[in-house]
């Protein structure tokens, strides 16, 4: 149905260190603000029920599915997207480099969300077991890799104790 409240709202967010102000509809999702208004198309939309995790971004230090957040809810937040992990022309973030080294991506569509989710895991638990990695990534669907090399890539960043288990 047509939204009865056509009023627009002004939100200010910092994305990858850059401050943006945007006028949004009340119903606009954060993922659409990032993709459509800010042109940050590395964050993907793979479903409409918050299952797939392709839209995962970092909001104030937490990995969050940006399809479950209204743009107005993010007002004042500091957000990191996949585009913000490695500085332009600089070295890849260790999670990005591990995904490349271990062939942890094929079509690449789930990859940004998967990297953001893996980054969060390693921030919380620098020493995850295979089981912890698999459990933590359960909110992100990959249809190409069978997860084998994704788990391997994340394991390569875990401490020596769990790397070869």
């Amino acid at each position: 149905m047509i939204d009865a409240d056509q009023k627009r709202h002004v939100v200010t967010i910092t994305v990858n260190g850059v401050r943006h102000t945007a006028s949004v509809e009340a119903r606009q999702l954060l993922v659409h603000l990032l993709r459509e208004d800010l042109g940050l198309t590395g964050t993907h939309v793979g479903c409409d029920t918050s299952q797939c995790g392709a839209c995962t971004v970092d909001i104030d230090g937490q990995a969050v599915k940006s399809c479950t957040v209204l743009a107005v809810m993010a007002d004042g937040a500091s957000i990191t997207t996949i585009e913000g992990l490695a500085p332009a022309g600089g070295a890849l973030h260790p999670v990005q480099a591990a995904f490349h080294e271990h062939h942890a991506l094929q079509c690449g569509f789930c990859t940004p969300g998967m990297i953001m989710a893996a980054r969060q895991l390693l921030a919380q638990n620098p020493d995850p077991t295979e089981s912890e990695i698999r459990h933590h990534l359960a909110g992100n669907i990959c249809r190409c890799t069978g997860y084998t090399n994704i788990v391997r890539a994340v394991q390569s960043l875990a401490s020596e104790a769990h790397r070869h288990e």
Binding site: G46, T49, C52, L105, G108, P112, N140, C144
Partner: protein, 790 residues
């Protein structure tokens, strides 16, 4: 620029050259592309499985904010051609399929009307305001129910809902069934699946002022899409440019002609502005083709030593409401031609009937028919082993096609030929890797303690890269079997490969360049790969049927070889020696045994373009295009083994180990090949344990309409897959490759079923249908226990 290289690239686990853009969020998928002034299309889909359309009232939608256009099927009648299949098995009755339903809908999700508006949200808002008056008709969703007397009929020209009857076989099944020690029957189902590419479909159509049209489209087959869309919309192929950017997975779902792929180009030309459409996930479940959906009845005649003498197969392939692109070929040629699998079953009779129902159309999904065919052969041999209480490995050995039998024509049939293989080699490797004897002992010991573990085995073989072209016409497959490659060298020696293959995550930018680098003997960094733009790539058939290395890779090999042959002639002229005296190694043309200074590949390339010293009659340039039509098809094969634990109290199946040994001939890049196996196996495990499309049998409502209800496995539901290779080169192409992409999803379903049946053998359970969900496994155990205590 460095030119010399002694490295052999083929066989190396090179990291992918395409990764950087994907890991940094710089991939460019169709929905990432915007065009100035573009409008957005949204589609109204039928909420009913079967109904007459009485009236479509668009007035409220037309008055909705931002709406430019609202159309019903009747408005479009005569303006766009119908959707016609590309593979029509001889004798098939093809139902009419308008792009948008006009007077009747036949599945939940069928296009009924559309809106074009300024934003996607406005288009979706307006679609909600379209008022359709339906008269609901009885629906039928099951293939066995659909062919019964009195079943609802979908199409006037398809009596009994059967579009196609196809038969294949050889020998004399009736005779061996009489002579056999035993004959058993088995009914198996191949559950309906949703391919679930992580990127849903989307399209952007851009009209140009000169009458041409650019279509951004995730297509596995850009040149085929160009032909189909040009034919249907009424434009010539050269006026239509298809650009397939990065594609978020295909698995067969993105190689067919869908209504939206015709609507966007039509609307863009009609309105004179770009038109975009994006499919939501829930929309995808009811509009993008499903896969599998078979019921098979098997009759197996065998000796008491486990040798199968004959096999009789009845297949019913559910293709949904209409015949999609390849739909008459999947349950027929692709399935029952391969029903004898890796085994010498010389007496075979098989019939397949293709059935329409009030469901989403069913078409290719990773393996298309070969998983169903392998499932027939594997469930048959497993049933024999279980019936005779023989070892599952030993029974397979007694029936295998042997290395000396190749090239082998199963059941002396007319169409199928397996070029090469060594199944025993794969079997031994798999048994060693999974530790077969030790695990068997462990299983037996744990059984005494009430723990239920099982080992599953599956063997497979099939054929990849449908070819040669002239053979395809006999099957009603209305396309060629060739692939095109252009290897273009610039005047400094840098190379671009223009390939008709189309990566959807396969890594062709790496693998095709590996093939070319070895032939051209230049560093791989000097080779770029272009795919997916019909304005740049001369021609092609695309990526499906595990054909990209076998056919696409071979075409790159042949064109690279021609480039070197021409360069050698030019070098001979430049060095003023006989061509036969020239040696080309490491990117240098030399004359061995002389002190003539070597010529670099780049220097020869420059001469090819300045043309000052070319041999008499030679055209300038160093740029070769081939249309490579294979002489035959490669037959990948392999053995997969799984070790599982089944909890009898919950019915939960835990996979403790999974080993895949695959023989895909020469492996171009073992890292990428293993990645294909990992993903394919997990899709196969998903079919075996988790995924099934569910319809309400009475109303035809789709019950698994979103990723909340359709159980795509997550990382915590599957194990790490162990992938090993055996390389028996294919004699059918110059690089010896077969095919790898579909092997995992072919082998894993029967492997998993056999593992669970092995675990449950103490209960006397001899068959389970997929998906083996906890309730289904639990119920089977409870039923067996109740029966045993009776």
């Amino acid at each position: 620029m460095s030119e010399a290289t002694a490295t052999k690239y083929v066989g190396q686990p090179l990291r992918r050259r395409e990764d950087f853009k994907f890991v940094t969020g710089k991939g460019r998928y169709t929905d990432d592309i915007k065009s100035p002034g573009m409008l957005h299309m949204a589609v109204l889909r039928s909420p009913h499985a079967h109904a007459v359309i009485r009236q479509v009232d668009l007035s409220a939608a037309q008055a909705s904010p931002g709406v430019r256009l609202a159309l019903s099927g009747a408005d479009l009648a005569g303006k766009i051609g119908a959707i016609v299949p590309n593979w029509i098995i001889p004798g098939t009755k093809v139902p009419d399929r308008p792009v948008v339903a006009i007077d009747r809908v036949r599945f939940v999700g069928e296009c009924v009307a559309l809106v074009v508006a300024e934003t996607q949200a406005m288009a979706h808002d307006a679609v909600e305001l379209i008022d359709v008056n339906y008269e609901i008709l009885p629906a039928v969703i099951d293939e066995e129910a659909a062919i019964r007397d009195g079943a609802p009929q979908l199409h006037d020209n398809v009596p009994n809902n059967i579009t196609t009857v196809y038969k294949i076989g050889g020998g004399d099944y009736g005779k061996v069934a009489q002579e056999a020690d035993q004959v058993i029957t088995l009914r198996v189902t191949n559950n309906r699946l949703i391919p679930t590419c992580m990127e849903t479909r989307s399209i952007l159509a851009e009209p140009d002022v000169n009458g041409t049209l650019t279509l951004y489209l995730q297509s596995q087959v850009p040149h085929m899409h160009r032909r189909w869309i040009a034919d249907t919309v009424g434009i010539s192929e050269h006026q239509l440019r298809i650009v397939a950017p990065d594609i978020g997975g295909g698995f067969g779902a993105k190689m067919h002609l869908y209504p939206e792929e015709l609507l966007c180009p039509y609307l863009a030309r009609f309105l004179g502005v770009p038109v975009k459409w994006w499919e939501s996930r829930s929309e995808s479940h009811q509009s993008t083709n499903h896969g599998r959906a078979h019921t098979e009845t098997l009759e197996i005649a065998f000796r008491n030593d486990g040798k199968i003498l004959g096999l009789k197969v009845e297949t019913l392939g559910n293709v949904g409401a209409y015949l999609s692109n390849m739909a008459s070929g999947g349950p027929t040629v692709n399935t029952i031609n391969f029903g004898t699998g890796a085994y010498k079953i010389e007496h075979y009779t098989a019939r397949s009937r293709v059935v329409v129902t009030n469901t989403v159309p069913v078409d290719a999904y990773r393996g298309y028919g070969r998983p169903e065919g392998a499932y027939i052969a594997e469930r048959a041999i497993d049933a024999v082993a279980r019936h005779l209480d023989l070892d599952q490995v030993e029974v397979r050995r007694r029936n295998f096609i042997q290395p000396a039998d190749f090239p082998y024509r199963p059941y002396n049939g007319p169409a199928t030929i397996y070029d090469s293989g060594n199944y025993e080699g794969c079997l031994v490797k798999a048994m060693e890797a999974i530790n077969y004897d030790a695990r068997s002992n462990e299983r037996d010991q744990l059984r005494a303690k009430g723990r239920y573990r099982g080992i599953g085995v599956a063997a497979y073989t099939h054929m990849c890269g449908m070819a040669p072209s002239r053979r395809l016409s006999l099957l009603g497959f209305n396309r060629g079997g060739w692939e095109s490659a252009r290897v273009s060298v610039d005047s400094g020696g840098r190379v671009v490969i223009f390939s008709g293959s189309m990566s959807q995550g396969h890594g062709h930018v790496t693998s095709l360049a590996q093939i070319a680098a070895d032939v051209l003997q230049v560093p791989i960094e000097n080779i770029d790969v272009v795919q997916g733009d019909t304005r740049q790539v001369q021609a092609g058939h695309g990526t499906f049927n595990s054909r990209s290395m076998a056919v696409g890779g071979s075409s790159v090999h042949v064109s690279s070889t021609r480039v070197v042959a021409k360069a050698r002639k030019i070098a001979a002229g430049m060095l003023e020696v006989d061509e036969a005296d020239i040696s080309y190694q490491g990117g240098q043309f030399t004359v061995p045994g002389t002190d003539i200074p070597p010529l670099t590949f780049g220097a020869v390339a420059r001469m090819a373009y300045v043309g000052h010293k070319l041999p008499d009659g030679m055209e300038p340039g160093l740029d070769e295009t081939v249309f490579y039509d294979p002489k035959g098809m490669g037959a990948p094969s392999g053995i997969h083994m799984a070790y599982v634990d089944v909890d009898p109290e919950t019915g939960i199946v835990e996979i403790l180990d999974y080993v895949a040994v695959d023989d895909a001939g020469t492996i171009i890049n073992p890292l990428l090949a293993a990645g294909q196996i990992h993903g394919g196996v997990v899709q196969g495990i998903a079919q075996a344990l988790y995924e099934e499309v569910s319809y309400d049998p009475d109303t035809g409502q789709l019950m698994t309409g979103s990723l909340l209800d359709y159980a795509v496995p997550r990382a915590e539901h599957v194990p790490s897959i162990r992938s090993l290779f055996q390389e028996t080169p294919s004699p059918t192409n110059p690089i010896g490759v077969k095919g790898i992409g579909e092997s995992g999803s072919i082998a894993a379903p029967p492997c998993m079923v056999h593992a669970v049946l092995d675990a449950l053998s103490p209960f006397g359970i001899k068959h389970l249908d997929m998906p083996m969900t906890p309730p289904r496994v639990w119920l089977a155990i409870q039923t067996a226990r109740t029966g045993a205590s009776r």
